[in-house]
Amino acid sequence: MVRDLCMFAGFNEDSQIVWFKVTYSKEPGSLSIITDFFEKENAFIMFGHIDNITQTTGEYSIFTELKKDVDMANLAQKIGELEVVNAVEFGISEFGMIYSVDFPLNVIGVRGVMARALTIVDIIKTLNQSVPHAEGLLTLSGLRGGSHAAKYFKSIMPINNSNFASMLAELYRAVGWGILEIDCNPETYEGKIIVKDSFIADVYGASDQPVCAFMSGYFAGYLTEYFGKNISVREVSCKATGKNFCEHVISLAPSSASQEYQLRGDTR
């Protein structure tokens, strides 16, 4: 969980946010050895988190901002060679989605909160069970969020056809919503988004119908704001219905009524 909190710097094109997860032997002074090493390498620790996994082993997650020319693999290897270290993992954030772990948490420019996926899915479930047009309501709710995200990205960094998809994917990973594979043609506005480990589908339980309308709406809002065209996103395959992953189809929203109904699969 802590690993997903790793990206907490504002966007800086010369640097990148890097996280290291260091598994170490819990001996007197072992943490000092690790932190001394980082200091010598000019890797300023912006945030650290310690998990006491066992009586003898600990896990130290470190978040740091480093110049882009630093060889991360080499640095990780050096950490791994420290006497007290058992294993090292690392990862890089290109866009810095979460930039503060102080209270209150800040996610892409506005206050964020953390919640168990179940907490949010309970809300979604209650809506689906009790409210007419719940799918529409969830789509509209997601739409706002996606639109705000794209607006924020536009305001803080250059966003273009080469990075709009990876920014969205990084955001999703950072906030723990899912792992995205985005294939979207900016010329035709068509494509698809695969969501692996969607937090909604993962904890929703079995369902006859796709349950990730909120995410479809979020994608639609993001892409609509980025492209400046109304984009339709609908979930055609959902893990909650027994599939391996969720799939959302992207297309340009139709401008006439008859097409809308065709899009929804209705016979007219």
Binding site: P132, H133, G136, T139, A253
Partner: protein, 658 residues
């Protein structure tokens, strides 16, 4: 989502409730209780860059009625220098709301003026249908035989009808407005919303004007005809006609004089205004066809935080129609008592609350133990009070008309009071089961009233029997509930005497007259009641004290209420008038003190009104702002009663016994 209005307007068929920024919260047609056709309806400006919704926090508003009318002026000021003046009126004869928007900007701007609506025609979001007739420039939405239409001058140049809550979000009119142009879809079905738009080209300090007609009808052709005819009339003509309608209606009122109040910091004028506003407000809560009243325009139709208010309670309405009668409008009594005859239950009682057509409303009082017997007592009492002030042939005809109903109701009260105190039922606050002072007092008054009517009808045997029972109830109530601390207990709850002090025990004096100031012992009891309620239930706010319902009240945060505060002042004023010799006699000191205290209560109630002068049910104990049901008819009727009593006191003090 619960949203309380700041202002209401309408005519006999249409009732509109609005927020302080001119956003429509409710549009009731053809009755005040059904159907409510609007979820959202408001103006919005697209500046060329973004939307400015007129109900956003960025707007500051000033809202008031045009004097002595139900015509509303709302002025909106945006930080960006845009200003909108809205004039809202409902044509006196047809159910059409006319909204004139005058948009001004300090800076040159090029954008759009949009009017957005989310109608739930027929009070449902299901199976609605809407179309935009681009030739007639009429946008209409309908469900069964309810039609709501929008027409405008100048004619709107763009429009959208789309799905309000659907995955095909790009048809949603609210989203469609965001890019500053509408898609012009001409028809759709289901849960839909709509928007119409115009170019907004403003020079610095220039102005654009848009007049929007929102009409209701029972058929498509009638809607077209109404809109067409209205659009031909100059707005100034409609305005004058509407203003004249209200001024003429108010001219029938009992005229106040209030001599001697001239020097009280404008109090006299404030009371004149409050009197007129209460009358104009009550007009809008009344159903002309059936004679019933909604307690307040409904604002919680899903019963999310309360049981709702858009129904008719006999308890409230009995006081409302009598107040209107005292104010010069006897026709409301006539129609309401006719309604009562139709609505009476087979056992002779009246139900907790009704739809305005007399059908029983959603209720948590369906059994003998959960019914509210005081409603039957109040109704009988009101019938007798009305009878006593009628004259000549009218008196005879009224008695003939209500007699059977009186007989059935009185026998019901007899059946429920065999041991003196009433059998267990629900209290007037609709919260507790048990035996209550207020309910017993209302039954006393009901049976005394019935006894008088029986006597007048030549049924002296019945009259004696009912009077004897009334006196038995009075004695039992005093014996069992009067406390040595100097007030009545609330009643018996869970078979135990509940000594909580409850403002409703004032009912033993006003309005039910179970205690009489003419009896020296009872006179002291009344004074003790007034003193103890004032001492124990006062909540300081708005530079005065409001009276909460009872100790440890938790409903909507235990705020002070207008009716409890005005009960107190009404008791004070009535007591003053009941004392012999007024300010010159042996009770001169009491007279002065009670009058002054009563005036303080009145001032407090006025301070808790909306910016438009509407009296709410409650006043927020922390902010001093109007709270919960707005406007509450019962609050308005008590304001009328209080002002009329104070007028009498002033006249008596001035030596005028007119």
């Amino acid at each position: 989502m619960i949203r309380q209005p700041n202002v209401i307007l309408g005519n006999d068929e249409l009732l509109v409730t609005m927020g302080r920024k001119g956003d429509i919260l409710g549009l009731f047609y053809p009755r005040r209780d059904h159907a409510q056709h609007v979820e959202e309806s408001l103006a919005c400006i697209h500046t060329g860059e973004r939307l400015l919704w007129t109900n956003d926090n960025d707007w500051h508003s000033i809202q008031n009625y045009i004097e002595d009318t139900n015509i509303v002026s709302t002025k909106l000021y945006h930080d960006s220098g845009i200003r909108i003046s809205i004039l809202d009126l409902v044509h006196p004869e047809v159910p059409v709301l006319i909204r004139r928007f005058k948009v001004q900007s300090q800076q040159k701007m090029s954008g759009k003026f949009f009017y957005y609506s989310n109608f739930n025609v027929g009070e449902t979001s299901k199976k609605n249908s809407a179309f935009c007739d681009t030739e007639a420039r009429l946008l209409a939405q309908y469900w069964q035989n309810y039609y709501i239409g929008i027409y405008a001058l100048p004619e709107f140049t763009e429009w959208q009808i789309g799905k309000a809550m659907d995955t095909i979000w790009w048809t949603n009119s609210k989203y469609d407005m965001e890019d500053g142009k509408l898609q012009r879809n001409k028809e759709d079905i289901g849960n839909i919303n709509n928007a119409v738009g115009w170019d907004l080209e403003l020079e610095a300090d220039g102005a654009n004007e848009f007049v929007i007609f929102i009409g209701a009808a029972s058929s498509r052709s009638l809607l077209y005809k109404r809109m067409h005819e209205l659009s031909k009339m100059p707005l100034e003509h409609i305005f004058e006609k509407t203003r004249e309608h209200w001024v003429m209606w108010l001219s029938k009122k009992h005229v106040l004089k209030m001599p001697g109040l001239e020097g009280h910091n404008n109090l006299r004028q404030e009371l004149f205004n409050a009197y007129n506003r209460a009358l104009l407000m009550l007009y809008l809560l009344n159903d002309r066809e059936y004679g019933s009243f909604v307690a307040a325009p409904e604002f919680d139709s899903n019963f999310e935080k309360c049981g709702g208010y858009g129904f008719c309670w006999n308890r409230d309405t009995s006081e409302v129609v009598l107040a209107l009668k005292h104010s010069g409008y006897p026709e409301y009594c006539d129609r309401f008592f006719k309604w009562c005859i139709r609505a009476q239950l087979p056992d002779g009682s009246w139900f907790q609350r009704y739809w305005l057509n007399g059908d029983i409303a959603p209720s948590w009082g369906n059994f003998d133990y959960s019914t509210q017997i005081d409603e039957t007592g109040s109704t009988l009492h009101a019938m007798d009070v009305y009878y006593r002030i009628l004259e000549g042939l009218k008196k005879v005809e009224f008695l003939e008309e209500v007699w059977v109903s009186v007989l059935r109701a009185a026998e019901y009260l007899m059946k429920r009071t065999k041991s003196g105190l009433h059998e267990s039922c629900m209290d007037l606050w609709e919260t507790y089961y048990g035996v209550f002072t207020y309910t017993n007092a209302s039954i006393y008054a009901g049976l005394m009233g019935a006894s008088h009517l029986a006597e007048e009808n030549g049924e002296s045997g019945m009259a004696r029997r009912w009077k004897k029972r009334a006196e038995f109830i009075k004695q039992a109530t005093i014996d069992r509930f009067w406390l040595q601390e100097g007030y009545f207990a609330k009643g018996i709850i869970n078979e135990k005497l509940d000594k909580t002090i409850d403002a409703s025990v004032l009912g033993a004096y006003m309005p039910f007259g179970m205690l009489s100031p003419k009896d020296p012992v009872e006179r002291d009891m009344i004074l003790f009641l007034i003193e103890n309620i004032q001492k124990k239930l006062s909540i300081p706010i708005n530079a005065g004290n409001g009276i909460k319902r009872y100790e440890n009240d938790s409903y909507i945060d235990g705020n002070p209420w207008i009716i409890t505060t005005l009960w107190l002042s009404e008791a004070m004023f009535a007591f003053v008038l009941d004392l012999p010799n007024g300010k010159e006699g042996p009770y001169a000191e009491d007279v002065k003190k009670l009058t002054d205290e009563g005036v303080k209560c009145l001032r407090w109630a006025l301070a808790g009104a909306t910016s438009t002068g509407l009296l709410p049910e409650q006043v927020d104990k922390s902010t001093g702002k109007p709270a919960w049901a707005i406007p509450l008819g019962w609050s308005g009727s008590l304001m009328l009663d209080n002002i009329l009593l104070l007028d009498k006191i002033c006249r008596r003090n001035a030596g005028n016994h007119e």
